[in-house]
């Protein structure tokens, strides 16, 4: 079957996600980029699961989904928090502490 395409897609998603994390200043966008990576992961897992004919991949993917959801919840909460305090969600403003 066409496993490589899946993997390739996964890789691409992964790269986009990484790029987003590094390039984006907007907290929400960074969050989204991370979600992209996680989806890339899911893609991989499912593809492999199919090829390997064992359910571990599926299970793993389910967990990833669940936990990703939790993460996003926490993440958005935090973003709200900073927005409340700073009236901005630009990450560049989060550099009080350095050195």
């Amino acid at each position: 079957m066409l496993i490589n395409q899946f993997l390739l897609l996964g890789a691409v998603l992964f790269c986009i996600g990484v790029y987003g994390v590094i390039a984006r200043k907007n907290a929400v966008l960074v969050l989204l980029s991370i979600e992209l990576i996680l989806n890339a992961v899911n893609l991989n897992l499912l593809a492999f699961a199919l090829r390997n004919h064992n359910p571990d991949g599926h299970v793993f993917a389910l967990y990833v989904l669940a936990i990703a959801a939790a993460e996003v919840g926490v993440g958005l909460g935090l973003v709200l928090l900073i927005y409340r305090n700073k009236k901005s969600i630009s990450l560049d403003e989060l550099s009080e502490m350095k050195g």
């Binding site: 990484v18 994390v21 990450l91 989060l94 502490m97 350095k98 050195g99």
Partner: protein, 801 residues
């Protein structure tokens, strides 16, 4: 090895067996004086005296029994005992040649370490017995003398304590069974001389003299330590062979080993040389003699006891004690040998010291240099193989030199108001102080070696033997020395007791300076300053102190305070002295004169213990160890012939006349071309200055060597310490800091922080990068995170592809 082991029916006795008590008594006395001295009516001096007397008794007992022992060995049936021995001493009968007398060696284990066992004990033979008697006797007299001389001194107790401890040290050294014990006594004497010379340490000059004395002797002690070490191992090998439990430190063993021929040449040579260096230091031989004249900074009794008759002969004693070692090591008396270290050093010392004695104005320093030169005689005697005369010279010299010093003390005490300057404050005292003068003159005769005085019997023997053993150079030196001795002693005698009374001796300027001469040393101080600075300039300056009335105006009581803030204590302490002072020059009280008389008497008779021309050789018999080649080398001493003595007698006479003439000319009342000659004629002046400056040896030692070490070199070392080694350590930190682009500043708080923060700074240097990474920007953190991961992954993937 003791007689018992040999199974000899050797005569011994309680005193012989317990001779070790002799030093212990004064040692204990020392402690007692220290702890309780101040509370006693006589401030502790009584303890010192008592202990000395006790030791004297013990020593006498020892001598008595030793003589018994000698007789028992002498192999003649009748045992008439020591008294008989004395009787025989004056019976004109030649003795059968006595065979070797076993010394009484007793010891207990003191400490053992690494298989080495050091005993603590006694090695009693003739030499030891002689010195025991001598030291205890003289110490006793000197202490009696001091009772009066130092009365009211601020550290009276201290003085007697030190004096007693000194005697203990000397006695301990004399009967030492082994080298370690000998070193012990040796160093204790050094310590005491330090304490006693520096007795009046308020004056920096005195403390410097004390320091100088101790330090110079200490330099010699390098030799003592090294030498002991060098001979130790060879000797201990022999000791195990002897198997009598003695170690390589044991003197008896060392001697036998040296004679046994088992020891290697070089070890013997170097050992003896090293030890002789110690003797040079202690006995004020050239070139380390310079401390001895300075040591006159101490109170006169100290000079007379330590620096004339006892301590300074320690070096000679050591050579005599280990004579077999030196004899083999330096090949004395080997056929065709005309020079050896000991003789050469001794010879040089005789001459240079005698020469120096001419230019001294301080009576004590004349005597000091004469001591040095007499010590030179002893050394030379030992060097030319004249053991018995040399040792005999120790014996006789002790009496007359001690007497001379005490005379000088008596003069300054009652005659010249504590000045020792012959030119300024003495002269014509013959009539004022007849007893002192008489004693002085007798002793001078003895010193000069005038026939029938003790010196004659010892010194001429030395000279004679030098000739006899083929050391002709030293024979000449000896004769010249005799000449010079007579000459400078005549000069001194003339200046002191004859001619016109000068300065204090003339009873001048009393009232202005009661405090000064109320105080036993106030006026002595400046002279002592000269003593230790030892160059003309200071000397002259110090003369001013006690010179003419007008200059004496400088000597107001306040000034005296300058010298001695406690002048008043002293003054109160012996007002009688101040009172006597008003009576002008006068004979000293009995406490002083009695010792003088006794000593003067002995200065005559002591010689008759070995008056060869009377066929009395008791000293040889009792003291000298018979050379059996096992315990003592065979020496043959020159038989006494009047003929041999003629040259020296003549020279003595010549010396006397020449010197007398010169003195009359130079110091006499009548104008004379010779007066101030040394000022007028350049060469003479140079010579004079040269002598006055003591051949500039002191300059060499103090200015060049000591200051060289003390200042530039050590400063340099210290600088290196701070700036190189210490730096190197900090540098390790600094180097790392250089990475951080920091620069080392100087050794202070910063350096430490630097050294600690060094690596931190290194980070800073290796780029603000690190700091940069910590920008606080999430994205950059992310970039860093993934970047690192990616790089790592890339590398490893490529590697593992």
């Amino acid at each position: 090895m003791s007689a018992a082991q040999l199974g000899l029916a050797a005569e011994t006795g309680w005193f012989l067996e317990h001779a070790y008590l002799i030093p212990i008594v004064p040692a204990v006395a020392f402690a007692l004086i220290i702890f309780f001295g101040k509370r006693l009516p006589m401030k502790g001096s009584e303890i010192g005296l008592a202990s000395m007397a006790a030791s004297l008794v013990l020593a006498a007992g020892t001598a008595y029994q030793w003589i018994d022992r000698v007789d028992s060995f002498a192999g003649e049936g009748d045992h008439e005992g020591a008294l008989g021995g004395f009787a025989r001493a004056f019976r004109f009968a030649e003795e059968g040649h006595a065979n070797y007398v076993e010394p009484v060696i007793r010891k207990v284990v003191w400490w053992q370490s690494g298989g080495v066992e050091i005993g603590l004990g006694q090695h009693i033979d003739g030499l030891a017995v002689m010195l025991l008697v001598l030291v205890t006797f003289i110490s006793l007299l000197v202490q009696i003398f001091s009772l009066e001389y130092l009365r009211g001194d601020r550290r009276y107790t201290h003085f007697f304590a030190a004096l007693t401890l000194f005697s203990a040290g000397m006695l301990a050294m004399v009967l030492a069974e082994n080298m370690v014990q000998l070193i012990l006594g040796w160093e204790i004497m050094g310590l005491c001389s330090f304490m006693l010379i520096g007795h009046w340490w308020e004056e920096e000059a005195n403390s410097r003299a004390a320091l100088k004395a101790f330090f110079t002797v200490r330099v010699g002690d390098i030799g003592l330590l090294v030498g002991t070490g060098v001979i130790f191992f060879g000797a201990s090998a022999y000791a195990t062979k002897l198997g009598n439990g003695s170690s390589g430190f044991s003197i008896d063993t060392i001697n036998q080993w040296a004679l046994s021929g088992t020891g290697s040449r070089s070890v013997l040579l170097w050992g003896s040389v090293a030890l002789f260096i110690a003797c040079i230091g202690k006995s004020g031989q050239f070139p380390l003699h310079t401390w001895l004249p300075d040591a006159m900074a101490g109170p006169t009794p100290v000079s007379s006891l330590l620096h004339s008759s006892t301590m300074v002969v320690a070096g000679v004693f050591l050579v005599a004690r280990l004579y077999p070692l030196f004899h083999t090591g330096l090949e004395i008396n080997v056929a065709g040998q005309h020079f050896n270290l000991i003789a050469v050093i001794g010879g040089i010392t005789i001459l240079i010291a005698a020469a120096l004695a001419f230019v001294q104005n301080d009576i004590k320093k004349v005597l000091a240099y004469s001591t040095v030169s007499q010590l030179g005689y002893m050394m030379m005697g030992l060097g030319v193989g004249a053991w018995t005369p040399a040792v005999f010279h120790i014996f006789t010299h002790a009496f007359f030199k001690c007497c001379l010093f005490l005379c000088a003390g008596s003069v300054s005490h009652s005659g010249s108001h504590h000045s020792f300057d012959m030119k300024k404050d003495m002269g014509g005292l013959l009539r004022k102080m007849p007893i002192t003068a008489a004693c002085w003159i007798i002793s001078t005769f003895a010193l000069c070696g005038v026939p029938f005085f003790s010196g004659f019997f010892s010194k001429d023997e030395i000279i004679d033997n030098a000739h006899h053993n083929g050391y002709n150079v030293f024979f000449i030196i000896g004769l010249v020395g005799a000449f010079m001795t007579t000459a400078y002693m005549t000069r001194a005698t003339y200046l002191t007791f004859f001619g016109k009374a000068r300065g204090a001796a003339a009873g001048e300027h009393h009232d202005e300076i009661t405090v000064v001469h109320a105080d036993p040393h106030g006026a002595a101080a400046p002279v002592l300053a000269m003593a230790s600075h030892g160059n003309v300039v200071v000397a002259d300056a110090s003369h001013g102190g006690s010179e003419a009335p007008d200059e004496a105006a400088a000597y107001t009581p306040d000034d005296a305070h300058g010298h001695d803030p406690h002048g008043h204590d002293a003054h109160d302490a012996h007002g009688h002295d101040a009172h006597d002072a008003h009576a002008g020059p006068h004979e000293s009280p009995a406490l002083i004169t009695v010792p003088l008389v006794i000593l003067a008497f002995l200065a005559i008779v002591s010689g008759y213990l070995n008056a060869a021309f009377l066929h009395i050789e008791k000293f040889t018999e009792w003291v000298a160890a018979a050379g059996d080649g096992i315990h003592f080398p065979e020496l043959d001493h020159a038989p006494f012939k009047w003929a041999n003595t003629i040259p020296s007698i003549l020279l003595v006479l010549a010396g006397f006349l020449v010197s007398l003439a010169l003195c009359k000319a130079v110091f006499g009342e009548r104008k004379n071309p010779l007066q101030g000659l040394t000022q007028r004629v350049a060469p003479l002046r140079w010579g004079h200055t040269f002598l006055v400056n003591k051949y500039y040896l002191d300059v060499l030692y103090e200015k060049v060597i000591v200051h060289g070490v003390a200042y530039p070199i050590s400063k340099g070392i210290y600088w290196i310490n701070q700036n190189v080694i210490d730096r190197a350590v900090n540098e390790t930190g600094i180097e790392t800091r250089r990475l951080g682009g920091w620069i080392y500043r100087n050794i202070d708080q910063r350096v430490v922080d630097g050294a600690v923060n060094a690596s931190g700074a290194a980070a800073r240097g290796s780029g603000g990068a690190l700091q940069g990474t910590q920008s606080g920007k999430v994205n950059q953190y992310g970039a860093l995170l993934f970047g690192a991961a990616a790089i790592g992954a890339l590398v490893l993937v490529i590697v593992n592809f």
